[in-house]
């Protein structure tokens, strides 16, 4: 396997060489090879989502963006759980595993830890990630395994035909909650921040440009990147994000998160830090400009990112979108590999037959005959 790590290269589209620490160690396409295209990443399998499903847009964005990474196709692996969204890997011509419900982060952890030369992606749904797979998800984030996790949040169980999910709003009337659900939903971004995630972002199926920017940043991040993607399910939860699809509504409601920039909507709202330290949304013309929050994705302390995630009470009146947090921390897989490598190099390289024989003998032997 040739490994041309960190070799500078021209991005397939555009000309900025990406540093890509997230994919350090993953072999790159030869510089003189023909540029990869979306077609290279499209498998021969017929896509089988319902017409109008938000998953199509995300698939198209991912297929369109993967060439930008400049990685060898065979070194990219998509691992999914179970759900409509988890069919994703079948449609990409990379390596892939459509695993079992909720367990993709664990499977991906084993793969990513044992193979530094792979770019490992996890595809999961709100039920897959936050119900049955909640434990694996939080522990992957806590460990900071070098994975990019795309969480398709349609606030419903799609594949099982429309039961409420852990992100469904209170009062959701679904097949299993005919008089309305009573349990409060998770906010996936808050959950991820609480679970020590080092990269947390939120984006949306229908905003291709934003989706692509966030995916790029997520791939560049070394460690676990959790990207919540709002995804419309026209069959069982149509219009869950309708407010964000109307241009004027979106302008008024979405708070843009951009590193080093004040947090503001496209209209008149800004986020301010009040005297007591809490965050609030206010009309820009009515506040002291010095109180406007300047977003810092790299802040060591996740409190501000968490406070931002709590500005939305579920009504989407003020909804932060973009990268909440991106901090550099040692990754689990790098450190685990370093321990194994360290043990091997301290002992003078890979174990020989003699070393193995010595291991079998142990410390305390006696001889017969």
């Amino acid at each position: 396997m040739t490994t041309e790590t960190d070799a500078p290269r021209e991005a397939a589209q555009g000309s900025t060489p990406l540093p890509l620490p997230g994919t350090r160690g993953v072999p790159r396409v030869d510089q003189d090879a023909p540029a990869q295209t979306k077609k290279d990443f499209t498998s021969d399998q017929e896509v089988r989502w319902c017409p109008g499903c938000g998953d199509y847009a995300v698939l198209a964005a991912v297929q369109g963006f993967l060439p930008d990474l400049g990685l060898r196709r065979e070194n990219i692996v998509f691992i999914s759980g179970i759900g409509c969204s988890s069919r994703f890997p079948y449609y990409l011509d990379t390596y892939g595993m459509h695993s079992i419900h909720g367990r993709a982060p664990a499977i991906a952890t084993g793969l990513a830890t044992s193979r530094e030369d792979l770019s490992v992606w996890v595809i999961t749904g709100d039920g897959d990630a936050l119900s049955i797979g909640g434990n694996h998800l939080i522990h992957a984030m806590r460990r900071n395994v070098n994975l990019t996790i795309l969480l398709f949040n349609n606030k419903i169980y799609g594949l099982t035909k429309g039961q409420y999910s852990p992100t469904s709003d209170v009062g959701s009337v679904t097949k299993s909650t005919p008089v309305g659900s009573v349990d409060r939903p998770f906010n996936p971004v808050s959950l991820a921040l609480g679970a020590e995630a080092t990269f947390v972002a939120r984006t949306m199926d229908s905003d291709r440009a934003h989706l692509t920017t966030v995916l790029k940043a997520a791939a560049e991040h070394r460690g676990t990147s959790l990207v919540e993607i709002y995804q419309n399910c026209p069959i069982f939860n149509d219009g869950a994000f309708q407010l964000l699809k109307d241009r004027d509504e979106k302008r008024a409601r979405v708070l843009h998160l951009s590193d080093g920039e004040p947090v503001r909507s496209g209209a008149e709202h800004v986020v301010v830090r009040r005297e007591d330290g809490t965050l609030a949304v206010a009309i820009e013309s009515e506040v002291d400009p010095a109180s406007i929050l300047v977003h810092d994705t790299g802040a060591d302390d996740p409190s501000a990112a968490f406070a931002l995630s709590r500005l939305d009470d579920g009504s989407m009146a003020h909804l932060p979108m973009g990268i909440f947090r991106a901090v550099s921390r040692p990754t689990y897989d790098d450190q685990v590999r370093a321990q194994v490598e360290g043990a091997r190099s301290t002992a003078g390289g890979p174990a020989s037959e003699d070393d193995l024989a010595a291991l079998l003998r142990g410390g305390d032997t006696w001889t017969v005959g």
Binding site: E74, G96, R103, G110, V368
Partner: protein, 627 residues
Amino acid sequence: MSSKPLQRLDRVVIRFAGDSGDGMQLTGDRFTSETAALGNDLSTLPNFPAEIRAPAGTLPGVSSFQLHFADHAVLTPGDRPDVLVAMNPAALKANLPDLPRGSTIIVNTDEFSKRNLAKVGYDASPVADGSLESWHVHEIALTSITVEALAEFGLTRKEKERAKNMLALGLLSWMYSRPLEGTEAFLRAKFAKAPEILEANLTALRAGYNYGETTEDFAVRFEVAPATMPPGTYRTITGNAAMALGLVTAAQRAGLPMVLGSYPITPASDILHTLSGMKRYDVTTLQAEDEIGAVGMALGASFGGALGVTSTSGPGLALKAETIGLGVSTELPLVILDIQRGGPSTGLPTKTEQSDLLQAIHGRNGESPVAVVAPQSPSDCFDIALEAVRIATTYRTPVIVLSDGYLANGSEPWRVPSLKDLPELDVDFATGPNDTDDDGAPVFHPFLRDPQTLARPWAVPGTAGLEHRIGGIEKADVTGHISYDPDNHDRMTRLRQGKIDGIADTIPDLQVEDPSGEARVLVLGWGSTYGPIAAATRLVRAAGTPVAQAHLRHLNPFPRNLGEVLRAYDHVVVPEMNLGQLALLLRGTYLVDVQSHTAVRGLPFPAADLAEVLHTAVAQTLEGVPS
């Protein structure tokens, strides 16, 4: 040289028993090492409570370690001790029922206070009231002798008392003529950073030895000659240690990095501990968030071309079931170690049982066959690990290894194999296309099988041109694409089953041992009951009664000749530490009846009890009593 007369014995069973905090496991381990160094054959049985520190001096807090050593081949840790060391009244009370009359008891009289006696319901001291008349009792103030021996030391009384297990060890070492050097070296290493504690322990050890030499209480000393064993280099080994070494050896010989995903659980945790110290052999250990995470990590690593292994006990195997099914469906190598314990539910965590057999073979949704193997002794765990890896990598399948608490913690001498005598393990990864499409162009088909083994190619990410997707949804034969076609599912189900059945082509026929050649009764076991069954047949044959013995190491598939073997005998006895799980499989598979003899007491079968069962079976068969 000792001044006392030396008496030669051919075998001895000693049980050290005390409070969980008395260090009985360590004492037993050290006596085992001394005994191994002398060349006796041996077998051990640690037995301890699930609680880390049950209330001191109570019956549930009793921890014991039994050791059987002899000048001939030893098969079990021994049914009943010849010597009991009882560090307190609870240890005496808990173990007395196992002691044959006439055997020896050493009691630590310091602990026989009114209060301690009352704790276990003794009104009067059994040492004083004559109720132990039928035993040889040595009353020794082990604690005060220890404290006295350490008078010069600047330690607290509590610290001094703690060395009383070394005093007991020194005394027993004198009694059975064991050398102390090994234990001294062990203590020096263990307490390298605490010189005063080290000196105290060494002093107590020697004081115990000298006590034996000087006290009138012990008139004779014993010795047990070395057993004749095949020439070679030996060490003692527990089942869990042998399992870890077997896995590392297999991975190294197969040229694969090994990834263990595991979640701590008794009695399997020591495998995680041991392997976590073997990074130098390209072993990665991942302590997962739970058992499902652990097996997921192992399967993910296998997908990437490593040897994925997961270790657990029964409750953990239950949690792993769905992921093992994914391994069956994706046809990836995966080794699952189930170190069985008493069940159901939490059951008896520190006690042994064989009740996960049906869970291993059938405990998944759908037609989900996996290979199942079981070691028959602590050292056999090494060989069974190699066999599990061979099957997993050759057939691209999950393999479940059924060890148990008895094998895991029990130890015996092991002739360290020479690497060149071990079976070769070759693993081939797919490197290029394996088929052509309709137009004759080369293509890769992830489910195109090897005609011999029916195994599919192991094509790992990073291999250019072989990009493919696998998953738990039914796959079309050959191409591996999603398929809901009824005929295809029927074919794939049979192919997966056929692949596992075909493993039988590569496993040895079941060997039957019947020295007389006249046996009409066969005793058939599997897993850790080998020792007790073999010891029982030895007793039965010694009484002139012919009986045949066979033992299964492969539970799925069975050896090809098993049906034939069963039919060759008038009567088959199947002892199991469950309620008859193998018996059910045998009856269902071969339509042969067997006598299922079962016990689930958390302890191995006493050989004498099994011998009784076999005697009766043989007698009834000869009389023609219908079985």
